[in-house]
């Protein structure tokens, strides 16, 4: 036996001795008829089946099974050996009357059976002396009777397998009397139940482990992506705070310079040159101030904040007229206004002025220097989902280089400057149009662009005639 690979206990990565089962072996009860005995065993199998359906683990479930079986089938030793992956687990149960020698023999015998039935390593060369082992006459079960003279000990060895051989383990029951064919049938049925239960148990465990692993991996992934989202948010917050702080801090000295220039303008007895220089300072400081406002608002739009609006009733035509007058002082007579006499509505004056300024400045900046920029204002109604909405449309049209369809797609994104704009060599921050869109959307309106050879480039801003409704709808 020393040649058997399984004699080396190291090959059993997990060996467990389990608690002794309180069990009294009994001789076959000859007083029972075979029908009564069959019924008795059927009941046992039924109970074992019930137990196995809630198979917890070998240590917990097996002693209960053996107890049940012993009521109908007498045995002295029970050995369970099973192979799981690279490890082999052996468990042994025995009754008190069993001698150490009997245990040793049962163990050896079960290991041999295991090697044989599972095709475990070196099984061909293993010293499987007993001829009985190889004669598998009774379906899966092995009956072996020791020499009756000496120490009558018979084993019944059952391969544990599901679907097909080789088995993944063996269950061996040992008794001290010869086993009949009916005993083998009973234990065969028992082994099938056990095999299915163990197989199912490990499958479930495997699935659980897999799921746990997947869950762990996905939670790792999630935490990683959460971390990067947090990083991005932190970065964004920092940038926004930076812009906000910078703007406020810039404004203080800027205002001081501007107010000082305004005070010079008010001085009595200064020369015309001084007054003119002071007014230049004021004008340029105002421009810087406007840029800071734009930057702050761009920051607001970027962070998803709504632009603060001060909605009030006014005549749009008058406002556009005033704005164009100011723009004319900068750019000259470059604008043509096509509009009705009056167009009253509810909007934010400062914001509308910025829309006009931005679109007009762009038209001058990138449009043909010889052609005028045409502003068209009109009132119209549009039916949106059964609701007739009064709208006002502001169109700013210029000729010159066209904007390609690709550039049109990203034109209203922040810090995006179209290729045309970049190629023009003109400087810009790429926030003007994103502001126009932000302002239009804050009013519940839209902005779009069309650029073709026929009309040139046309920016169209559409606003509801009364933006109060939108504000009140969206309010808390």
């Amino acid at each position: 036996m020393t040649d058997s690979p399984l004699n080396d206990e190291k090959s059993f990565s997990l060996t467990k001795k389990l608690p002794t089962v309180e069990h009294k072996p009994r001789a076959p009860d000859n007083t029972l008829s075979w029908q009564e005995q069959a019924y008795d065993r059927l009941k046992v199998l039924y109970e074992v089946g019930k137990l196995l359906s809630t198979f917890e683990n070998v240590e917990k479930t097996f002693p209960k099974i053996l107890d049940l079986c012993s009521t109908s089938f007498p045995f002295r030793t029970a050995v369970l050996i099973e192979k799981r992956g690279s490890s082999v687990m052996t468990a042994m149960w025995n009754v008190e009357t069993v001698t150490a020698e009997q245990i040793a023999r049962a163990t050896t015998s079960s290991k041999e059976s295991f090697i044989y039935l599972t095709g475990a390593s070196k099984c061909e060369s293993a010293n499987l002396r007993t001829t009985e082992m190889s004669s598998r006459t009774l379906s899966h079960a092995q009956t072996r009777t020791q020499s009756e003279n000496k120490d009558p000990e018979s084993y019944i060895v059952l391969p544990l397998y599901v679907d097909q051989l080789p088995a993944f383990g063996v269950l061996q029951l040992g008794g001290s009397y010869p086993l009949c064919e009916k005993d083998v049938e009973f234990v065969d049925a028992l082994s099938n139940l056990v095999a299915i239960a163990i197989d199912r148990y490990y499958r479930i465990q495997y699935e659980r482990e897999l799921k746990a692993k997947e869950a762990l991996e996905s939670s790792h992934k999630l935490s990683r992506s959460e971390a990067s989202v947090t990083d991005l948010e932190t970065e964004r917050e920092l940038r926004e705070n930076f812009v906000s702080l910078l703007s406020h801090d810039l404004r203080t000295p800027l205002s001081a310079a501007k107010i000082s220039a305004q005070l010079i303008q008010r001085e009595v007895g200064i020369t015309e040159t001084t007054r003119s220089l002071a007014s230049r300072i004021v004008f340029n400081m105002n421009r810087v101030d406007q840029m800071i406002s734009d930057l702050l608002d761009a920051n607001r739009i970027r962070s998803g904040e709504k632009l603060p609006l001060n909605i009030e009733p006014f005549d749009l035509i008058a406002l556009v007229g005033r704005t164009l007058e100011e723009l004319t002082t900068i750019h000259g007579e470059r604008f043509i206004l096509k509009a009705p006499d009056i167009l009253d509505g509810y909007w934010d004056q400062r914001s509308i002025r910025r829309i006009i300024e931005n679109l007009c400045n762009n038209a001058i900046k990138y449009g043909s220097p010889d052609a005028p920029t045409i502003l068209s204002l009109s009132q119209n109604t549009e039916k949106i989902t059964d609701q007739i909405t009064d709208q006002v449309t502001i169109e700013v049209q210029n000729t010159g280089d066209l904007i390609s369809p690709e550039d049109q797609k990203t034109l209203f994104q922040q810090f995006r400057r179209s290729k045309t704009a970049q190629d023009s060599g003109k400087k810009g921050w790429g926030i003007g149009l994103s502001l126009v869109r932000g302002v239009a959307e804050a009013h519940g309106g839209t902005v779009k662009v069309a650029s073709d050879a026929e009309r040139g480039t046309v920016f169209t801003v559409t606003l509801p005639i009364d933006s109060r409704t939108l504000i009140s709808k969206e309010g808390p």
Binding site: H248, R251, T252, A256, K258, I259, Q262, L263, P308
Partner: protein, 119 residues
């Protein structure tokens, strides 16, 4: 009799210009560089018609100054109207006081102050 304004700001430039602008607009103006300076000054001033208080100041900020004022000069605190000057476009609602935007344009600033006090 000119109306008296106590302007409190931690920025020298702003404070100086507020002083000039409000003086030119016809007010009697006292300026204090920060809350602590203002508290030291208050008992010397006979009558204040309006306190123009910078909201965000290094050291003692606007609300902290008011808390200290209430503690040290409860009578002044009770009887003197206070307005905040703030750089915020949308100041927090919890200010609990009227506010005007900081000095960015002379005419607008004078108009804002006149809503609370005329010279």
């Amino acid at each position: 009799m000119k109306k008296t304004i106590l302007a409190i700001d931690d920025n020298k430039e702003t404070l100086f210009l507020e002083g000039v602008v409000l003086t030119q607009a016809g007010y009697q103006v006292h300026t204090a560089l920060g809350g602590e300076a203002a508290l030291k000054m208050i008992h010397e001033l006979k009558e204040i018609d309006l306190i123009l208080l910078d909201y965000e100041m290094a050291g003692m900020n606007g609300p902290e100054f008011l808390a200290a004022l209430e503690k040290q000069y409860p009578l002044v605190f009770e009887q003197t109207p206070v307005i905040y000057a703030t750089a915020h476009e949308n100041p927090p609602q919890k200010l609990n006081k009227s506010w005007i935007p900081k000095l960015r344009d002379i005419d607008k600033f004078i108009k804002d102050v006149e809503r609370f006090i005329t010279p």
